[in-house]
């Protein structure tokens, strides 16, 4: 059971469809893992639909336009829903271990690039979403740490498997974490099988300490 969830406002915006693609993806993935948020989104959606359709309609266009639209639509044949094959891969295999993924992320596995090593037992695979923000899978091996850093923009992280902690908290499977420039932290994982997270970032990390500061000019290479 997740302990950290998206803000209520965030869930509402997700239901409205007003969030960016990458944010929508990570919230959908969290909802796959969290029945509480799934229900909240469901409630929002049904309230929104009642609001949107609940008013006397004014200022209609020429009724003939609706007539011809109706004519056009009813000529169309019925369509089967998109029935895609069961995904070849429903999990990520790393280090000989298998990490099952929530359904939403299974669908974007085919957009995922190859894994590359970062600093200290840290691996990442970028997801090509064609958005301004960056989306990546990040794996922290046991004892892996991310050098202390802050965030130029906002970073959302979803714990997919295992757990990690930073100076503020301990995060477990299903937890949704939001980090902004107010937070400086150095996450590390001490769980046996390491920790797999999915992370959405609108700007590169900014490393704040020691030799890792040297990474700053290249962080766009790493987190791209």
């Amino acid at each position: 059971m997740a302990r950290f969830h998206p803000e209520p406002e965030h869930l509402l915006q997700f239901a409205q469809g007003s969030l960016a693609l990458s944010e929508s993806l990570i919230i959908a993935a969290h909802c796959d893992m969290c029945t509480r948020c799934q229900q909240i989104v469901h409630q929002h959606t049904s309230i929104l639909s009642a609001e949107i359709f609940d008013f006397p309609v004014t200022g209609e266009p020429d009724p003939a336009r609706f007539d011809s639209m109706f004519e056009h639509i009813t000529q169309l044949p019925p369509l089967k829903g998109k029935i895609a094959p069961t995904p070849a891969q429903t999990s990520i295999e790393l280090d000989g271990k298998r990490f099952p993924l929530p359904l939403t992320l299974q669908r974007i596995l085919c957009k995922t690039g190859s894994w590359s090593g970062l600093v200290g037992k840290l691996w990442q695979a970028p997801v090509d979403l064609d958005t301004t923000g960056l989306a990546t899978f990040i794996y922290m091996g046991r004892g892996g740490t991310v050098p202390e850093h802050t965030h130029r923009g906002t970073e959302y992280t979803l714990v997919l498997d295992g757990e990690f902690c930073d100076e503020l908290n301990r995060y477990r499977t299903g937890d949704f974490i939001s980090m902004s420039h107010e937070h400086i932290h150095s996450p590390h994982s001490d769980s046996l099988d390491g920790c797999l997270v999915f992370s959405v970032l609108d700007q590169p990390l900014h490393f704040t300490s020691g030799l890792a500061r040297l990474l700053n000019p290249f962080s766009h290479l790493f987190f791209r």
């Binding site: 008013f55 007539d67 639209m69 064609d130």
Partner: protein
Amino acid sequence: MLVGIPLEQSNSAVKPKECATEMSDYIVKVAETRCKRSFARVFGYFAPRLRSYALKQMGNEALAMELVQDTMSNVWQKAHLFNASKGSPSTWIFTIARNIRFDMLRKLQNRKEDVCSDDFWPVLCEQTADANEKPLDEQITLEQIGFMFEDLPVKQKAVIEAIYIDGKSQQEVADELSIPLGTVKSRTRLALQRLKGMLHDHG
């Protein structure tokens, strides 16, 4: 005129909740028998309401009507995917419209369409896309960054060390080493270019 079917109800003040059961039955009839008369009732109620929503969202009549048309086409063509136990007709139709709107806006921003709303709101599909996985490769560790750093020419290394490890400003480094600021800047740039090259060779 619609093959003798009047489009009624469009101006009625009936709330979506009050006609949910009725609309559900019509959608089921559309799915089972392609009944135009039933679809006319659904269309008559929702199309004008969708247009009002779409006008607010898209801000222009042509795009709004495109959104209405795409949404109602889906209702007609995919009525069999409606499941009354999962939600009311208005919720189902709203989610279809919301997804189409989301994808239309992305298209207007000239985004690739290989990731779309169906990926996180699978309203009109029943299964998932296929997936693949790429092997582990490439490895750059902090230690390797350290080695690359060691490979830098001595003068460049001194500048990088002072700036990135000791956290000094370029002016402070210039003063300390008694060299012009311009020289510090060019050494920093050369060193970073070199490190970047090494990282690329690596990847």
